[in-house]
C-alpha cells in the first residue's frame, strides 16, 4: 500500500485516489479484517454462509424474502439452462429476447397490476436508463439528496437540469417545483425505502405535491418490493398512492433473489423506451436461467403474505432488541427490513464490524461518502427466513461485540 503511494508522480491519473488509498491503508494498519474483501466460501441457506472459514449468520444481504434457495426457483433455473443454454449473447432488441424475458415481464405486469414492464440487466441500469432517457434537455429532475448512486448517475448521463432537495423534506421539494418554469417538463424521483438508514418516504404527500405542479413521478422501490404493501408492491402501495406513480423502478437482486432490474408503468407510450433507452439497447440481455428464476420468484412473491408477516416480526424484534441494548439506530421505529446501527466513527465502526464477524455475524459496513451526513453505519437487512431464534442470537452477538468495542 505504501509502495503505491510512493510511486505517485506528476501525470499519474491515479493520484486522485490517494486520499482513499491512504484512508484504507490507515484502517487496515489498525489490524482489522478488510471489510470490503470478504469471501463467501460456501452458502448454506439464505441466512447462513461460511465466510473466511467461519460459519456466519447473514444479516447484510438484502435477501429479504429468502428466495435464493427456493426449490421451485432453482428448478426453473435448471430447466431454463437445459432448454435455452447459458446465455443469450445479444441485446434485447436484436437476438436477446427469449420466451423467458417476455414471461418475466408478464409476471411483473401481473405482480404490479400494470400494463408495461421492461427488464434491464441490472437494477443500476434500470435507473440509469429510464432517468437519463425520459428527462432531456430543458427538462428538470427534482430528487431527494439521499438518492441511490444509480439515480444520480442517471441524472448525470442525461441533459436535464438537476435540482436536489433535503431528504424527505416535502416543503423543500415544493419550493423547488414552484420555482421551475411552469411549461418545463418535470420528473420527481423518490425512493420508497432509503437503504442507508432504512427509513421510508412520505410518498402520499410528496406525490400529491408533485402532481400539483404537473410533474411525472418515478419511485425506486428496490428495498420494498415483495415485502412492504398488502401485495408486496412497495411503499407507494402501502400508502395508497401507487396509481399516481408514473414509473416504478425495481430490482431482482433483493427480494426476488437473482439479478436484473426493471421499470413498470401504465404510460400509453411506454414501449418506445425499448428503442430509445441506451442502457437497455447496448448491452446483452439476462441469461435464460436468470429470467426463469426471476419469473418464478416474482409469481411466488404474489402469495407470500405469511413470509411478509414473519419478516415484519423479525424487523420489530431486532429493532427493539438493539435499541434496548443501548445502540443508536437510524430510525426511531422499524420502518422496513433494514435496521441501521449508527457508529461513533469509522474506526470503531470497522472494529465493531470485525467483532461481529468473529461472533459469526455478517452485516454491511457503510461509510462516507456513501452515507448521509458522513455517518458510519452497520446496516442490518433482515430476511423472512431468519428464525425467531436467529434474531435473538443476533441481538446477543451485537450486545457482546458492542461491549467489547466499547460502543454500549
Amino acid at each position: 500500500m505504501t509502495d503505491m503511494l510512493d510511486t505517485t508522480t506528476k501525470g499519474d491519473l491515479f493520484s486522485k485516489f490517494d486520499p482513499l488509498i491512504q484512508m484504507r491503508a490507515n484502517l487496515l494498519a489498525s489490524g482489522v479484517e478488510d471489510p470490503f474483501s470478504l469471501v463467501m466460501e460456501r452458502v448454506l441457506s439464505p441466512t447462513v454462509a461460511v465466510c473466511n472459514g467461519r460459519e456466519t449468520i447473514l444479516l447484510g444481504t438484502y435477501n429479504y424474502m429468502g428466495m435464493t434457495f427456493d426449490p421451485d426457483v432453482i428448478e426453473a433455473g435448471k430447466q431454463a439452462l437445459d432448454d435455452f443454454g447459458s446465455g443469450t449473447t445479444g441485446s434485447r432488441v436484436l437476438n436477446g429476447t427469449y420466451a423467458g424475458h417476455k414471461a418475466v415481464e408478464q409476471a411483473l405486469c401481473d405482480f404490479y397490476d400494470m400494463r408495461h414492464a421492461m427488464v434491464f440487466s441490472t437494477g443500476y441500469q434500470a435507473n440509469l436508463g429510464i432517468i437519463s432517457t425520459i428527462a432531456g434537455k430543458g427538462d428538470y429532475i427534482v430528487l431527494d439528496i439521499d438518492s441511490h448512486a444509480s439515480i444520480w448517475d442517471g441524472c448525470k448521463m442525461g441533459d436535464a437540469e438537476v435540482v436536489p432537495f433535503k431528504h424527505n423534506d416535502i416543503e423543500a421539494m415544493e419550493k423547488r417545483l414552484r420555482r421551475i418554469p411552469a411549461d418545463a417538463g418535470k420528473l420527481v424521483v423518490l425512493e420508497g425505502v432509503y437503504s442507508m438508514l432504512g427509513d421510508i418516504a412520505p410518498l402520499r404527500e410528496m406525490i400529491a405535491v408533485a402532481k400539483k405542479y404537473g410533474a411525472m413521478v418515478l419511485v425506486d422501490e428496490a428495498h420494498s418490493m415483495g415485502f412492504i404493501g398488502p401485495n408486496g408492491r412497495g411503499v407507494a402501495e402501502d400508502q395508497g398512492c401507487l396509481d399516481d406513480v408514473d414509473f416504478v423502478i425495481g430490482t431482482f437482486s433483493k427480494s426476488v433473489g437473482t439479478v436484473g432490474g426493471f421499470c413498470v408503468s401504465n404510460h400509453p407510450k411506454f414501449e418506445i423506451m425499448r428503442l430509445v433507452c441506451r442502457p437497455y439497447v447496448f448491452t446483452a440481455s439476462l441469461p435464460p436461467s436468470v429470467v426463469a428464476t426471476a419469473a418464478t420468484s416474482v409469481r411466488k412473491l404474489m402469495h407470500a403474505a405469511d413470509k411478509r408477516a414473519h419478516l415484519w416480526e423479525n424487523s420489530r424484534t431486532l429493532h427493539k432488541g438493539l435499541k434496548d441494548a443501548g445502540f443508536s439506530l437510524g430510525t426511531d421505529s422499524p420502518q422496513s427490513a433494514i435496521i441501521s446501527v449508527i457508529m461513533p466513527d469509522l474506526e470503531r465502526g470497522a472494529g465493531m464490524w470485525e467483532a461481529l464477524l468473529h461472533e459469526g455475524l455478517y452485516v454491511n459496513l457503510a461509510r462516507p461518502p456513501a452515507t448521509p451526513a458522513n455517518m458510519t453505519l452497520l446496516r442490518c437487512s433482515l430476511c423472512a427466513e431468519h428464525s425467531a431464534e436467529q434474531v435473538q442470537q443476533i441481538i446477543g452477538m451485537f450486545t457482546r461485540a458492542g461491549k467489547t468495542v466499547g460502543i454500549i
Binding site: 428538470y140 439528496i145 441524472c155 437540469e161 438537476v162 435540482v163 436536489p164 432537495f165 433535503k166 423543500a172 419550493k175 423547488r176 420555482r179 421551475i180 461518502p369 451526513a373 458522513n374
Partner: protein, 79 residues
Amino acid sequence: MTRDETSARIAALIEPFNKKGVAITDATRFTDDLEFDSLTVMDFVAAIEDEFDIIISMNAQAEIENYGQLVDAVVKLTA
C-alpha cells in the same frame, strides 16, 4: 438590484457557514478556501435559493467555484 446589493445579501447568508471566519473576496473558493463539504453546499445553496426565490441547479453549481462566480450567477438568475 445591483451586483453590490446582491453581494451584500449573499455575504450575510454565508456568515453561519463560514466557520473559520475566512475573509470573503470574489476569489474565495468554496471547496478549497471555505472547506465546504457536499452537505454544507446543499444547505448554503438552499439558503440562497430561498432568499432570492431562484433555483441554482446542480448543472449551474458545477460552473461555480468561487464567491464572485456565485454572485454573478445570482445576478443573472434574478435579472
